[in-house]
């Protein structure tokens, strides 16, 4: 692209958000116009930006809307009623209220703008530098920021006024410095978080200068939160400034909304209406800024929530599973019929990701559920456990687990099934162990709750389980926290936990995918041994056909939410009937010849 993505100067965008990048040229129509469209279709965003635009227009072009100067006082007109070109009448000194409101807005809004600009100018660059480079600058600026944040803003402003005088602009600059840490922290946090992202490394490898990396990669990330924070800070600055003026410590003669409030307050008995106009102006402006910030956040930070399965429900393709070997009678341990899983999306629509799946696992049988990412295999497994993630539900079909219907069961009934009827081994062992508890806690808790064992009994049983899963030093592992053991050990612990209550069915979701290949071999051997010893049924979700060959009796191949083929492992792997299965097998690299030795290029040609 010839025109790089140039984020709007945050200062301007923050306080005049109605000028958002509508001007984005044709190069990026999809994204920008979508953002603008979402912004325009949100009533809150549109309403608040229109009101704010109106306020800003009135204030900026004040001379067009009033013919009177805000400071022309005529005591004869004091407390005069509206009329004769004086829209809101006169104040206690005989000055035109409408005109003071407009010109006062200039100072009030201008002051807020100044404060935000100063805060941005101080906070954003220092936050960028501290987050990106770290090191001594980071330490030093953190120290400084903590100091500034510890200072009470109002007291500092009062002190400033005592030292530097009553100039409202000076006060606003000081206020800007005081609120700069809000931007600093925001930016530093975001930048430090993205510092480790691969695309930043990639940019460095491409020979980009740091300044360019920051401008192109880093600023884009912090743009949205900075704009939102800017709108909030502007509202706050208006409030603080009005507060100071109201206390009578602003600049005396400059018309501001706060000063008008102060004056109105002294005459509240005589002319209560005086409070209304500046109060209304302040309230309206602050409220619209907050509302605008909220809707900007919704628009800019909406990353589009998709269901956990990701890919869409592409229809067509294999409609009827061709070779379901268990279409008639249902297996005794696990029997799934016509299972459909539907997700409710963020916009209220719903999407079916699993379309009518039939599965059977007999007692003591290992069934492999094979498919690529997005095929719905994990969703199917979660349905068996009754544990679909937020937004997902079984929309059709039946799941019989040891004779009990899972679909539509109460949580309580499902809890009764888990542990001793069905147990689960996850893909990511580490994220499935709570770092705050020891391995022993993880293992004994279910034993005590589920089997009602005493503390000592549970401990004995847990140590025994650790020995069964071939953990070298069970006593020490029992006392360890999850971060003290390796991923392979963690998976053994989870397997120990899964078999602790003697389940009839073990659901294992890619149990070895996160492990190194040598560790995988050992975990597979362990699973095979435990399965044989206990006669467990296993539903093994995997993408690895080697794992299937190693462990499974039968295989079901899934694609786009449907089972395309079921059969014995032997048959599926040697004589697949479906093209899709054949494609999967063809992609296996087992028998690919090694690459021929290198030849100098000249010779090769």
């Amino acid at each position: 692209m010839s025109s790089p993505v140039t984020p709007d100067a945050p200062g301007r965008a923050a306080t005049q958000p109605e000028h958002r990048p509508e001007a984005a040229g044709p190069p990026g129509p999809g994204r920008r116009s979508a953002t603008v469209r979402r912004f325009l279709t949100s009533p809150q965003a549109l309403g608040s930006s229109l009101v704010l635009a109106a306020v800003v227009t009135l204030v900026v072009f004040a001379p067009l809307f009033t013919a009177h100067a805000p400071t022309t006082a005529d005591l004869e007109d004091a407390f005069g009623p509206p009329g004769g070109g004086h829209l809101l009448g006169f104040d206690s000194s005989g000055r035109d209220v409408w005109s003071r409101l407009l010109y006062g807005g200039r100072n009030t809004l201008g002051g807020a703008l100044l404060a935000v600009a100063v805060a941005l100018a101080v906070g954003v660059p220092s936050g960028l530098a501290a987050g990106y480079y770290g090191g001594w600058f980071d330490s030093l600026s953190n120290w400084w920021v903590n100091l500034v944040m510890a200072l009470p803003a109002m007291v500092v402003l009062l002190a400033t006024r005592a030292v530097l005088g009553t100039d409202v602009w000076v006060l606003m600059i000081v206020l800007g410095v005081l609120v700069a840490p809000a931007f600093y922290r925001l930016v530093r946090g975001a930048v430090a978080a993205m510092r480790g992202e691969l695309y930043v490394d990639a940019a460095r490898v491409f020979g980009l200068r740091d300044s360019r990396i920051i401008a192109r990669h880093v600023l884009v990330v912090v743009r949205a939160p900075v704009i939102i924070q800017g709108a909030l800070v502007a509202g706050m600055a208006i409030g603080l400034q009005a507060g100071l003026e109201f206390l009578g410590i602003g600049s005396g003669d400059l018309p501001t909304w706060g000063a008008m409030l102060n004056e109105a307050f002294t005459n509240i008995q005589r002319a209560p209406l005086f409070m209304l106009w500046p109060g209304l102006a302040l309230g309206l402006t602050s409220a619209t800024l907050v509302l605008l910030a909220a809707s900007l956040r919704d628009v800019l930070e909406d990353r589009g929530t998709a269901p956990a399965t990701g890919r869409g429900a592409r229809r067509g393709g294999a409609d009827a599973p061709t070779t379901l070997d268990s279409a008639g009678e249902r297996a005794d341990l696990l029997s799934v019929r016509d299972l459909a899983v539907t997700y409710t999306l963020a916009d209220g629509s719903s999407r079916e990701v699993v379309h009518g799946v039939d599965l059977d696992v007999r007692r003591g049988e290992v069934l492999g559920l094979v498919g690529e990412s997005g095929s719905g295999k994990t969703q199917t497994a979660f349905s068996v456990l009754g544990l679909l993630p937020e937004g997902g539900r079984v929309s059709r079909g039946s799941v019989l687990l040891d004779g009990t219907e899972v679909v539509g069961s109460t949580d309580r009934a499902l809890r009764n099934l888990r542990g001793d009827t069905v147990a689960y081994v996850p893909q990511e062992p580490m994220s499935n162990l709570d770092p705050a508890f020891t391995i022993g806690d993880h293992l004994t808790e279910p034993l005590r709750v589920k089997l009602g064992l005493s503390r000592a009994q549970a401990r004995e049983r847990a140590l025994d389980l650790l020995r069964q899963v071939e953990i070298p030093d069970p006593e020490r592992t029992f006392r360890s926290h999850p971060h003290q053991i390796s991923g392979g050990m963690a998976q053994r612990v989870l397997i120990a936990g899964a078999v602790s209550c003697d389940p009839d069915l073990l659901v294992a979701d890619e149990p070895t995918t996160a492990l190194d290949v040598t560790v995988q071999a050992e975990v597979l051997a362990l699973l095979r041994r435990l399965q044989a010893e206990r006669g467990m049924g296993v539903l093994l979700v995997t993408h690895n056909l080697g794992v299937v060959a190693d462990l499974c009796d039968r295989v079901a191949v899934m694609r786009d939410g449907r089972i395309v083929e079921t059969g014995t492992t032997e048959r599926i792997l040697s004589d697949p009937r479906e093209d899709y299965t054949r494609g999967l097998l063809d992609a296996v690299l087992d028998d690919t010849p090694a690459r021929a030795p290198w030849q100098p290029r000249e010779a090769a040609q």
């Binding site: 190069p27 695309y199 491409f206 087992d590 690919t592």
Partner: protein, 313 residues
């Protein structure tokens, strides 16, 4: 360990090479590639260490004297498990981590410890494709902007960059309208194509591929591998291909180096290392990977248990 070149010397023009003493080569496993007088990348006795946790803790050695070399247009596969240091080698070559010992030479020039400016110039020749196509592309940049970035960084005029981006998309078989879209609109395999296109943008002579197909589905993995092979045929770029998967490395690499705990334990021609490995660790890697054939897999399992499990218990 072994000299990968000895059976079939690829460069018979250099008369002195066959006389290369295999004993010296076995002494430091890295010297194996020394048959070519001028390797493109030459890593000698590379050491990398990271600060230990806590004050004055000893540094953790991640690489403990690694030597390898890559010739122009060659693919060197680097296999190892997590924590072996395999990715660190790639990152050191790219200048993303500092070397604490040894040397890295590119085209005869020492590049470890190169200045930032020199590093930027070198980036014209050394590029990267990372493992995770989800985090290696900036989610808020259009694909077109991402691809144009290295071009603009090297002073290519904007108009020319635009045409070259379109050409790059053709080369990785992505539709041209991809320039106007965000990474999130693409699948993992397509994103990896974008990442490959970005690495190709300035026609580098070496691409460090850090597990570029590991996050992909089986069928997608195959097509991306084919793409990498095809690109190498056409452009003659060399790859340092880092992976944990012996079978992927086998299909893509001319030579294979096996790394274990920061040291290269076996180094040789792809076919020999991946079919008939000498080092017990490589044998273990090979036997650990299950094959998609129940009969052969049960043989392999039995072999594995006979050789490694009996010893463990």
């Amino acid at each position: 360990m072994t000299d990968p070149n000895s059976p079939r010397d690829p460069n018979p023009a250099h008369g002195s090479e066959p006389a290369h003493d295999p004993e010296t080569a076995a002494g430091g496993h890295g010297d194996t590639g020394g048959t070519d007088p001028k390797p493109l990348l030459d890593v000698r006795d590379l050491r990398v260490s990271f600060p230990g946790k806590g004050w004055r803790a000893p540094r953790t050695e991640v690489l403990r004297g690694v030597s390898l070399d890559i010739r122009p247009g060659e693919t060197l596969g680097l296999v190892g498990e997590s924590g072996s240091g395999k990715s660190t080698i790639g990152r050191a070559v790219l200048g993303l981590v500092p070397a604490s010992g040894g040397s890295i030479s590119f085209d005869g020039e020492r590049v470890d410890g190169a200045s930032r400016r020199r590093r930027r110039e070198l980036s014209r020749h050394i590029q990267v494709v990372f493992q995770d196509p989800y985090t290696s592309l900036n989610p808020s940049l259009l694909v077109g902007d991402t691809l144009a970035e290295p071009l603009l960084a090297h002073g290519v005029p904007a108009a020319e960059a635009r045409t070259r981006v379109a050409d790059l998309l053709d080369r990785v078989a992505l539709p041209r309208d991809a320039v106007h879209r965000l990474p999130r609109e693409f699948s993992g395999g397509q994103r990896q194509r974008v990442a490959i296109a970005r690495a190709l943008a300035i026609a580098p002579r070496l691409i460090v591929c850090d597990e570029p197909v590991s996050a992909l589905d089986l069928t997608t993995q195959r097509t991306v591998m084919d793409l990498l092979l095809d690109i190498q045929e056409r452009t003659g770029t060399a790859y340092l291909f880092v992976s944990h998967d012996l079978s992927v490395v086998r299909a893509l690499s001319h030579r294979v180096a096996v790394i274990h705990q920061g040291q290269i334990v076996e180094y040789g021609g792809a076919d020999r290392v991946t079919t008939d490995p000498e080092h017990p660790y490589t044998q273990r890697l090979l036997l650990s990977a299950p094959v998609a054939d129940p009969g052969r897999q049960s043989e392999r399992r039995a072999e594995y248990e006979r050789r490694f499990h009996a010893r463990a218990h």
